[in-house]
Amino acid sequence: MMPTDWSIVLNLSLPWIVVFAAATVTLLASASARLRTSPLVALTALAGIITAFVLSWQQWISGSGPIIATLAFDRLSSFGWLLILGIAALTILMSFSYLQDRHAGHPEYYALLLFSAIGMGVLISGYDLITIFIGLETMSVAIYALAGFFRERPQGNEAALKYFLTGAFASAFLLFGIAFLFGTTGTTDVGMIAAQQNQVLSSDLRSSFLFGLAMLVIGFGFKVAAVPFHAWAPDVYDGAPTPITAFMATAVKVAAFIAFLRIASAVLVLTGVLWEHLAWGLAVATMLVGNLAAIAQDNIKRMLAYSSIAHAGYLLVAFTALAQDPTGLSRGILFYLVAYLLMTLGAFAVVTATQETGEAADINLLAGLSKRRPWAAAMLALFLFSLTGFPPTIGFFGKYYLFLGTVKAGFIWLVVIALLNSAISAYYYLRPIVVMYFHEPRETEEKHALPLASPLVAVIAITAISVFLFGLLPTNLLAIVEHSVMAFLQ
């Protein structure tokens, strides 16, 4: 197991080491009474993230690396890691003013954020089920803590507890599945499982092996909030601090989906029709429940929670057809992930902005936002249009590439269902826009709001520009995604 060249390993894992170092420094700084209140802590965390981002970008440029021990250092990993770091950086920016406005500047917040990011990195790169599990747990435990970070808020505590209980439940399934796979194949290495798969499937271990795979799917289904393993999501998203909700809705999903993509394209697709039927059912259930339940929500955070469930459903649509055209669909899935994370982060950033110093997220509170904060309102409208899938936003091209590949693979009815669901989604995405622009605000509210904190403005600006720019010129992003996909499929 010992790698031959240390410097290679060190070099490849440098981004992680940087993030880990930043997390450690942040954590230790929080142990000092003097540094606890200093804004330097957030800056340290941000600096670590940005350094790691640059390093991984260089890694991506230099091409795909090898699979060393239990970690794959390919372009998919670099790409996923770039996404995670980007989200983390934006979340830190978003959190900065959020914490300041609420006079809650605990540096552990940033340390936990970074630790969870490292977990995601491991999850994305993991090429061994045990490593993947460790990554998943590292990520999750930090997020559990973050969800209930403000201990004085009962909703936060409720969110953390619910997330923890259901999460532990799901982890047990995952671990159970890993045990069965190990039992039937004698290995936890994804590549080796894939290599033995056909042999195992034709032997009398077939059922046990499939049972293990089913458990694996359930474990990941929980993390991406696929129906029926989704019920935690609305409550947790609602109760957690808004920037953390944004982080959960984007980073956790991206990490889980990329890891799932790796496993699915290596192992699951080989089961053929079986996987297609299962994913078909999951996708349809997830889309339907997500979209239908979102309509009934009056709280924008809960609405976005169901929306994120629905988007997981759209992604599962592509997973269904994965075996037919691995390259095209993986490309579509990655592109959609980028689109999804940009517009969701942006939407949550605006929600953070509209919450001022409170936690209320009732949609009716948006009334008159177009006058109070015309820019924020316009940007929220942009993100919601993008989530619905209107051109020329990135959301349109995301759906386009995703569904195009699925149609080509022959799943026409599935795409029809997905498109009907998109149509339903317009109903609840457009509602906040109507409220913002056409409803009169209540008398008690001020006409003019204070200027927004600049980090928050930066987050909204970055996401909005990306949503719009990639919507106009999607090909550059598509090329990057394509290169990322090519390597891991070979």
């Binding site: 954590l27 230790l28 929080s30 142990a31 000092s32 271990l205 059922s207 046990s208 049972f211």
Partner: protein, 124 residues
């Protein structure tokens, strides 16, 4: 459905049967004569002197959690120490040693944090 599927099914059925059976059997077989004396919590035959739902100071939990962390550390150290000599013999001693040091280092960082935050001080 193959024979294997059946095996899996039998496994689950057996687990369910065993767990459910025990509870069911005890309620069926056990003689139930509820009286005041039966319902008192059993404490070595002596009448309880305090409510069992006693509220403990949160510091006990904290200490317990910290203990578990370092307990796991020790548990991990033992097997490592046992096979360490073999690794040295194979010339991989440095690598394995450094790996363990990194592991310990991470825990030390945790300890430092706890120390700094005052988790180890019993008195306020």
């Amino acid at each position: 459905m193959t024979l294997n599927g059946l095996g899996l099914f039998i496994l689950f059925a057996f687990a369910l049967l065993l767990a459910g059976g025990m509870i069911a059997l005890s309620s069926v077989l056990g003689r139930q004569k509820p009286s005041a004396g039966h319902l008192i919590p059993y404490e070595c035959g002596i009448d309880p002197v305090a409510k069992p739902r006693h509220r403990l100071h949160v510091k006990f939990f904290l200490i317990a959690v910290i203990f578990i962390i370092f307990d796991v550390e020790v548990v991990f150290l033992y097997p490592w120490a046992v096979v360490f000599r073999d690794f040295v013999a194979r010339g991989e001693g440095l690598f394995v040693f450094l790996e363990m040091m990194i592991f310990l280092g991470v825990l030390v960082i945790g300890l430092l944090y706890l120390w700094g935050r005052g988790a180890l001080e019993w008195e306020e």
